[in-house]
Point group: C2
């Protein structure tokens, strides 16, 4: 019997509730956004008592379905002021699902400010644990401690916030453990870590021992679907074992996007980075090989993943430096700051993991700070110092920790590549129009994961379209709807490479969902469900004061042209307004 766990941080009360009928078929983003829309006043202050943080595993999370351990984290974002869903792959999600917990809703705030608590969830109950011993500490200290206290790997899954979240910084993410127990898997974007900080919740440990598991309505259908998806993932070049993602990780994209002239460099001044080969997936693979004396393929972030794209960088002496350096992180902390040294990037990445920060937003902050003269472009050592400022919560650190737009405002910098206050990710929209349209109209602020049109625009997945073509309203809409659906299943977005190219794979996803829920969704329902989710999110945003005026890229991109293609942002506003209407 599934249930919703409601956690009141004022009264320190945690209680299970029945799942309302209307939520029965929902999971992941569909469920977090539904609960947020139903329960959070759109006009509330994101760090005030009326905001909530909702955790929800996906529809098939906790089953034997491959690559399906995403945990959605939803609420109103302190970074953007919009609704927010950000998800990560983590065993934490599977444990919740197997315990029958469809969602955790964290609400209210402690009366005592500066006091933090933890939550411990087992089959037998939920308890509040004082977090005093871990308050003010980095996650690389907190997670091992929590394992010692509450049971080790793989029994226990952990969610935690770093000091950035405690300090309620808008770039604070929500961290989960990976398969080695490292604090490395992030629902990074949108500052949900700050919201948890405002609620005084430092961590959740979930013990999956003797969990009953996920009920499956039609086991046969589920297994059939599962097999189709496994087959698709195992055969696609990007997702198969020793394929591109397993070998290099998402960082494989550095070379590809650089060649496309769309790798934002020096705070989005250029589309090609001279140092790109030094921070590319290939250099990463070779660097590890040299330092360890053997080829290292990547690992899964969570149990049951076939793609296994999570990498680990090692120091010259062969010890582990950080895991994982995603493409977005290598770009944000590297190319965008003109830093071309993987060791510096690894240190920055590790500090983000430790302090509890979104690497993308922080890379944006650093680049804008470099633009302002607080640091020099290319100076990785100075960037590392700046990360420590954030960790210490100095005034400079608080500026940076609140994101690129806050940094721009503090230093009077107008070249801030953001939408709705969230910094853009690793694709310059002037050179790849579809992803720019996604940034513009996404309900989440600039977010490539809202609709990864890079697949057809650059990677040739599900066909190939011209990266410079501006007539992409239909493409962008289709991708956003499909993504909202995938984000609700619990699957990692990376399965889309395989299922878009291999129709049987997508069929498999539908059969898995129908198998678990007992529904009879067809491929048509993907778009319908996605549309429903996004319309709901847009209604929230509209009530919060967002209009089509906010569905725009920053002014400077219309005027400043981007080398090497020397292109400006030239998608007409009418085209943007056609995407979601």
């Amino acid at each position: 019997m599934q249930k919703i766990l409601r956690v009141d941080m004022t009264e320190r009360r945690a209680a299970y509730e029945d799942v309302p009928e209307k939520y029965r078929q929902l999971g992941g983003r569909w469920l977090t956004s539904s609960i947020v829309c139903d329960e959070v006043p759109a006009m509330c202050h994101p760090l005030g008592p009326n905001n909530k943080v909702v955790f929800a595993p996906g529809i098939v999370t906790g089953t034997a379905s491959p690559t399906s351990s995403r945990i959605s984290v939803g609420g109103k974002s302190p970074l953007t002021g919009t609704i927010k869903e950000s998800n990560a792959g983590a065993a934490f999600s599977q444990k919740l699902a197997r315990l029958g917990i469809k969602a955790i809703v964290v609400e209210e705030q402690p009366k005592e400010t500066g006091k933090f608590w933890g939550l411990r969830i087992t089959k037998d109950g939920v308890t509040f644990e004082p977090a005093d011993g871990w308050t003010g500490k980095g996650l690389s200290e907190v997670f091992p401690d929590l394992y010692q206290q509450y049971g080790g790997m793989p029994k226990v899954g952990i969610m935690g916030i770093g000091v950035a979240g405690e300090m309620r910084m808008a770039a604070a993410g929500v961290c989960f453990n990976d398969l080695k127990g490292r604090p490395s898997r992030y629902s990074g974007r949108g500052g949900m870590g700050a919201v948890l900080g405002s609620k005084g919740l430092k961590f959740i440990v979930v013990d999956g021992t003797d969990a009953p598991g996920v009920e499956i309505a039609n086991k046969e259908l589920f297994d059939q679907g599962r097999n189709k998806l496994v087959e698709a993932l195992r055969s696609h070049d990007l997702t198969k074992p020793k394929g591109a993602l397993n070998t290099y990780g998402s960082i494989v994209l550095v070379k590809i996007i650089n060649e496309a002239g769309a790798l934002p460099t020096r705070n989005f001044r250029e589309g090609r980075f001279k140092g790109a080969t030094k921070i590319a997936g290939e250099a990463f693979f070779e660097g590890n090989k040299e330092r360890l004396g053997k080829e290292v393929y990547n690992h899964a972030c969570s149990p049951g993943c076939i793609i296994q794209c999570s990498n680990t960088w090692h120091r010259p002496d062969g010890t582990e430096h950080t895991s994982c350096i995603e493409y977005e992180s290598a770009w944000a902390l590297g190319a965008n700051c003109e830093v071309d040294n993987l060791d510096d990037i690894a240190e920055l990445n590790q500090l983000c993991n430790d302090y509890g920060l979104d690497t993308i937003e922080i890379g944006g902050s650093l680049a804008v700070a470099m633009e302002s003269g607080v640091a020099s472009f290319g100076d990785g050592k100075r960037a590392i110092e700046l990360l420590h400022e954030i960790g210490k919560g100095t005034p400079l650190g608080r500026i940076l920790g609140n994101g690129a737009l806050a940094t721009g405002k503090a230093f009077g910098v107008i070249r801030v590549p953001h939408v709705k206050g969230q910094t853009m990710s690793a694709y310059d929209p002037r050179a790849i129009k579809g992803i720019g349209m996604t940034y513009a109209v996404s309900t989440m602020g600039a977010d490539h994961t809202s609709g990864y049109t890079i697949a057809p625009e650059i990677l040739g997945v599900s066909g190939k379209v011209d990266q410079f073509d501006v007539n992409k309203a239909d493409l962008v809409r289709t991708f956003q709807y499909a993504t909202a659906f995938i984000d609700s299943t619990g699957h990692c977005l990376f399965i889309t490479f395989a299922i878009l190219d291999i129709p049987q794979g997508f069929e498999g996803v539908m059969e898995e969902c129908n198998g678990v829920l007992g529904t009879q969704w067809t491929m048509d329902d993907v778009g319908k469900i996605g549309e429903k989710i996004i319309n709901m999110e847009r209604t929230f945003n509209k009530t919060a004061g967002f209009t089509e005026a906010h569905d725009r890229l920053p002014e400077f991109m219309r005027h400043e042209s981007l080398p090497p293609h020397n292109v400006v942002w030239d998608v007409p506003d009418e085209q943007l307004d056609k995407v979601l209407g």
Copy 2:
């Protein structure tokens, strides 16, 4: 022959243009807002090349009309993102008007960043002057230097920005000289000093020598109107010589608003301040008397003012400390920070004048910083240190210099009393509903000068209404329309005390305007013109992305009740939406 002076800061070109027919009857706010709406893209970045700063004297400015030397400064605000008009009383305005300059439009930006220029305007032409010698310097050093260089008082009028404006801080105001040449008269609100900073314009000196004067279409009618207004100002208790404003300055309000339980204290936690009597107008008057051994009445900020409400505070040794401490400043830097020492307030006020800052916004920043623990409430000495941080442009200073909302964001403080990013002024809206409605719906962000309903709600001017009554949509609308009109005439808003109570005085204002312009406006036109101005401004804001969701007070005011009346903000949203429709 009137003309518009257009100043291109990229090309460093200044050229006169004919006044388009549609602007012929316009002045002050009506003209600045019209030019901004016609020429500035609502979606532009306030600190980018497409924003403009417009200076405009009022319709009767430069004539013998009393208390009519306001200079309107307009543009898109970097503090609020809305359209902005902020006005000050200054001889500068009269000199422009007498030279036939209906408006100055400053546009574009220098190619070289960090380079500043001045503009010198005489009857014979306009020249650009290098400002290198004054860049980075405080205005109390700059203004005397400029007088030495370009001719003294009363020949020359000066506009300047301080280091806050150079650093493009959103709380940077635009400063004008007073009758002693002091940098003390501010178009403070909304950060127009930062926009001038972004344009590299440090100062304008205008030499009024041999100015032809303002053309008056019907001299007889004008004189008749002028005499009526003079008579009204000379007879009303608030505005007459040795009346309340001339004796105490606007600071006379401390005691009155404190008694009404609406003096925001300790960052809007309470409506009464224990130290109120120590910072009230009466204490100010007595303090000066004690230190100087005589009674000191106030002076005019600009030639031709009858009210003469500008005060000067003196040190224990009798030397001048600062001029002028307005009610809003004494409150912002005093009660709101629980500082009850007039010498500390004077020092803070003087630093704002010197660095070029809006005292209201900075008081808001300080109070929020105190709320965060960066300083303690009541610690005036620490507040002075914080002002120096702003002047030095340290990271902490940059946070504070960007206003209360930026300060709250940096330190995770949600109790920020603002609307549209502009901090509220010296009236707690929970205890005086009409002014709260004005804060909410004003096109300018929280701004008491958008419609000073305090007149009937507290002062008994133009009748008396219950301060707690929430049904004030009509009152608030009427005041906003009338204010937009008055802001266009060039008159100081303080004349309204007299002309609302003495109908002949208002008649006089209309006759003055008709006399100058040759129009035949009636009292009906006040509302019509005001409505036209405000609708135009609202259209700009709407295009910039503002909706009724932004016409709201902060959430905490609906939940936290304000002593001593223990009232929350209980004006229904529908009532707010009824004000301007």
